[in-house]
Symmetry: C2
Subunit: 590 residues, 2 copies
């Protein structure tokens, strides 16, 4: 049966790019799902065929991403005989075909698609209480009062189970987001810059005048492990650990609960420090992200988790891709001296058992050195900075990150088009060339003329060679362009976080500028003013250290990815040349 | 000033091929004339840009192809002060801009464009008298009676001049065709199979029952150089000369006459036999073609002259292309043992002086062994053939040539599309990739971070490399695809001639089948019947010899062109690989 899809947003084809213009609500027939690069080939009602962005459409009658889920008979949907099942259906990561039909595309999927800000992190934004205080852990007993069936498992429930109820207490929308991400993430065009989800009034007592919380706080909290900043060749730098932490994300395993009604993927993370693997679900990564964002977001851009950027809707491909991106995210976190050294990150990588994990979670969620207060833990070795220099530096970083963001997006756009051409029209053309040569060979064979075979064999071989080239061309993007795109996608995400981080600094600069006025108005004392610019200078050292960290990583990453890309490109062209040389050898004018 | 063009025929763009749909009469702006392959890039009134076949449009305000022609002041058009000039204007190969404007696109060009059957040879079809008898040479004095000004030059006129009047006596349409071909031939899509212009009632006394002229002729004309057919390994073959004739067509020179009002291109043809160059204008090639067609057309397919297949409307390119194709045509004629040995062909290659040429022309035009009568000169060494075998052979050849014709057209279509992609979207894309990398490099340079330069230099180099690749891609088709297309174009033309030749044989076969009936009806004697099938068998030997000649040439030609094509393709991919390897070397993760 032809796979139908519904168009979610208008999409206008770019001329000459083999794209198909579609209108919201239109139904199209998917003719090729495995184009890759976030594109599918589809045919509209007028029979026109072309490429459409995967994230602009919604598949109809799609089978659930989780076979496990499909074990629930379709007839269960809203079937009174199974009251509790239907309760879970409302939260089920993927609904069964029957439900899809019933909901006429109003299932959680489309809701998720339609949400442009998208991504797991939103459920936090949507219930700030979750982060207002570090105490978002609900009282399990609360579940009973809400009569949630699962509550009857009581305290015996293992931590994950218990997490689930807690999640399920959230708005189903928020839930749908977080789980649908895990169930079959949709490529979000990869073109929207993701950004950190911090907002100036998201932190404890953090208001528009947020930075003053730190700038004016009476005493720097004690007994914290301090974060030192040294002045190196390139300027202020973080103090890097002796041994670079890294970890391997691997071996995704499917787990299921509630009699197979809910399933999830568990990844195995093995740090090079302990070499002892720990298991985490996507939602645990998400929890880690939130902690890091709260704690370091004002000083260090924390890239969003891979989620909306995931390509491919089919489990195998999806899990592989997500794992690859979680690996990339974890490696980046490991490479950061401050993050990799933090308690919460260490907990994530090295917790001994469920109890250890649970306690650590509690502790992390109670941590009050979050938001701008992180600066209280920073100790620059160098002298104070001139506020003017501080401002200039801040401006420079702001300009650079913006410019790089634009440039990275340009590469992604061009790469995306190249991907389409290499997987669409180009191989088709080589195939047709190959076929034409083989057809000619067939005709020649019918000539009945002597000594025909040398030519016809050679022609057939040449034709087959061009069919092989078609294959090579179509497969190449996955071998090289893929990594170039992934790296730039990662940087797009990272760069999207800088405005928030830099915003905190700009707010602090403005506050310090008001210093004299505030003194005159007796709002602050002269000591306060001195303290403020001293602390602003600490913030600037932090930003500079962070930028230098960013630059050194960037230089390494782009050298590596370009090497990788060009190496594969060379192999690609050499392979083709070799194949053609072989084909050439078969012809003879002797 | 933007070059405007008028659309002559509706053209519907093929989706995904970067083509532009245009309607007859529409005016478009040409944005790129040098696409090649018979295509131009144009923009329509709605601002859409795409490729349009060159032969579907007519350029406006185009400069005359011949600078010489433009020496006639535009104001001359229809200027009463220059009556004779305006007379010639009507016949002028190219009209001046002023004339184009005056005629609002109704100049000879568009008339010529609009003629689908096209080509120089048509003017013969349009006045059969020209060929009814071999005596198409007009009486020069006739010109006087028609009061043609040039006639007053009388007999003193050099032969070429005199030729012109003779030409000009034809319908101006016919004239426009034959000269416009010489002036700036238009690519006729290269996709219509050209065919010989013989028709069954084109030869002396040749009617629907044409072959009987030979089948029943009372006596085989004497004193002719006989054409022998031997039976070789592959079957009946022509007797080939000891030394293969060949010639070089080179050194096109512009000549002009009538005070520079009319100019022409003269080519130098040097046969390897005499090594003495002779000069010929296109019209002389055309004359030769007509002679060969009349004399050998029933037995040997005579490919049309390169004319309608010429690509490119600009003099330099056009002359180069026509010379290349005249060379191809001449080489093919030289390779044919019967044609290369014929008096008329020898005359063309080796005439000593104008007088010699003139006499030879007269003689050739008086030759009466034309049409089916050519078979009277053929002597097969072998025994007579069973009529059934004759018919089967004929069927087989008919099938094969039809099948090859289809296959060759498929290659031309695919090649044409490939040409477009390689000269259009593909290089644009590589260019954009190159630019994107260089832009990123520029941004990085602005980071102010130490040790940036290694990466930025490498990125810039990589970017430039992709711009070079864009260039290579765009130029490649001229280096390899061009020859593949030319060879197949030539074969398309040749194959288009077989139906006529084979038709003559089929008519003969039918006639012989009627043998008994005719005897019974006392229309022919029993000896006649015997003679008929004897002569049919001679015709069959001829056809088989011709097919074997065709096969051996075909095998050689396709081996050669495929070798050439693949060799260039290998070079192409190796060059790219080498460039990329160099770019790769500049990145470092040390």
């Amino acid at each position: 049966m032809a796979l139908k899809a519904q168009v979610l947003y208008d999409f206008t084809a770019e001329p000459g790019n083999n794209e198909l213009t579609v209108k919201e609500g239109e139904t199209i027939t998917v003719t090729n799902k495995s184009i890759g690069g976030g594109w599918i080939e589809a045919q509209n009602s007028r029979g026109e065929v072309g490429l459409v962005p995967e994230d602009y459409i919604e598949f109809k009658n799609e089978f659930p991403a989780f076979p496990a889920a499909s074990t629930a008979p379709p007839s269960n949907a809203g079937n009174a005989a199974y009251p509790d099942l239907s309760v879970f259906d409302a939260f089920a990561p993927v609904s069964t075909p029957a439900q899809n039909q019933a909901s006429n595309g109003n299932d959680p999927w489309s809701a998720w698609n339609a949400d442009p800000s998208g991504g797991t992190n939103n459920n936090w934004a949507s219930n700030p209480e979750g982060t207002q205080t570090g105490k978002s852990a609900p009282d399990p007993w609360g579940n009973v009062s809400q009569g949630h069936p699962q509550a009857y498992q009581g305290p015996a429930a293992e931590d994950d189970e218990w997490d689930d109820e807690w999640d399920e207490m959230k708005s189903s929308a928020g839930y749908a987001e977080s789980e649908s991400g895990e169930a079959g993430g949709i490529q979000r065009g990869g073109m929207h810059a993701s950004s950190m989800k911090i907002s100036l009034n998201k932190f404890p007592g953090f208001s528009k005048s947020g930075p003053e919380l730190y700038l004016l706080c009476k005493q720097i909290a004690k007994g914290k492990d301090k974060l030192s900043i040294y002045v190196g060749e390139v300027g202020p730098v973080w103090s890097y650990p002796e041994t670079q932490i890294d970890c391997i994300v691997a071996d995704p395993k499917k787990g299921s609960k509630m009699y197979g009604l809910k399933s999830y993927i568990e990844y195995q993370i093995t740090p090079n420090t302990t070499n002892r693997p720990v298991n985490h679900r996507y939602k645990h990564f998400d929890w880690l992200y939130e902690r890091l964002l709260d704690k370091f977001g004002s000083a260090i851009p924390i890239p969003s988790l891979p989620d909306k950027q995931v390509t491919g809707r089919f489990e195998e491909e999806f899990i592989k891709m997500r794992m690859e991106r979680l690996q990339g995210w974890m490696s980046r976190m490991c490479r950061h001296p401050v993050i990799s050294g933090s308690d919460v990150f260490q907990l994530f990588l090295t917790y001994k058992d469920e109890k250890d994990w649970k306690t650590g979670k509690r502790k992390a969620e109670k941590d009050e050195t979050v938001g701008v207060m992180i600066f209280t833990t920073i100790e620059p070795e160098a002298a104070d900075l001139d506020p003017l220099e501080v401002e200039q530096k801040c401006e420079q970083f702001s300009k650079f990150t913006k410019a790089m963001d634009d440039s990275v997006k340009e590469i992604l756009t061009v790469g995306n088009e190249h991907w389409k051409r290499c997987t669409g029209p180009l191989p088709k053309e080589y195939q047709r060339i190959g076929k034409a040569l083989q057809n000619l060979s067939t005709v020649f064979t019918s000539s009945g003329y002597q000594g025909e075979s040398t030519l016809t064999d050679a022609l057939t071989a040449a034709g087959k060679t061009y069919e092989e080239i078609a294959q090579l061309v179509a497969e190449q993007p996955k071998k090289d362009l893929h990594f170039l795109m992934e790296t730039n996608n990662e940087y797009k995400g990272l760069l999207g976080c800088f405005p928030d981080t830099i915003g905190v600094h700009k707010a602090a600069i403005d506050k310090v500028k008001e210093g004299d006025k505030l003194v005159a108005a007796n709002k602050i004392t002269t000591q306060d003013k001195v303290a403020m610019s001293k602390r602003l200078s600490t913030m600037s050292y932090t930003l500079q250290a962070e930028m230098n960290h960013f630059h050194s990583n960037r230089i390494y990453d782009y050298n590596r990815v370009m090497q990788q890309y060009l190496e594969e490109q060379v192999k690609f062209y050499e392979t083709i040349a070799a194949k053609l040389r072989q084909a050439h050898g078969q012809f003879t004018t002797m």
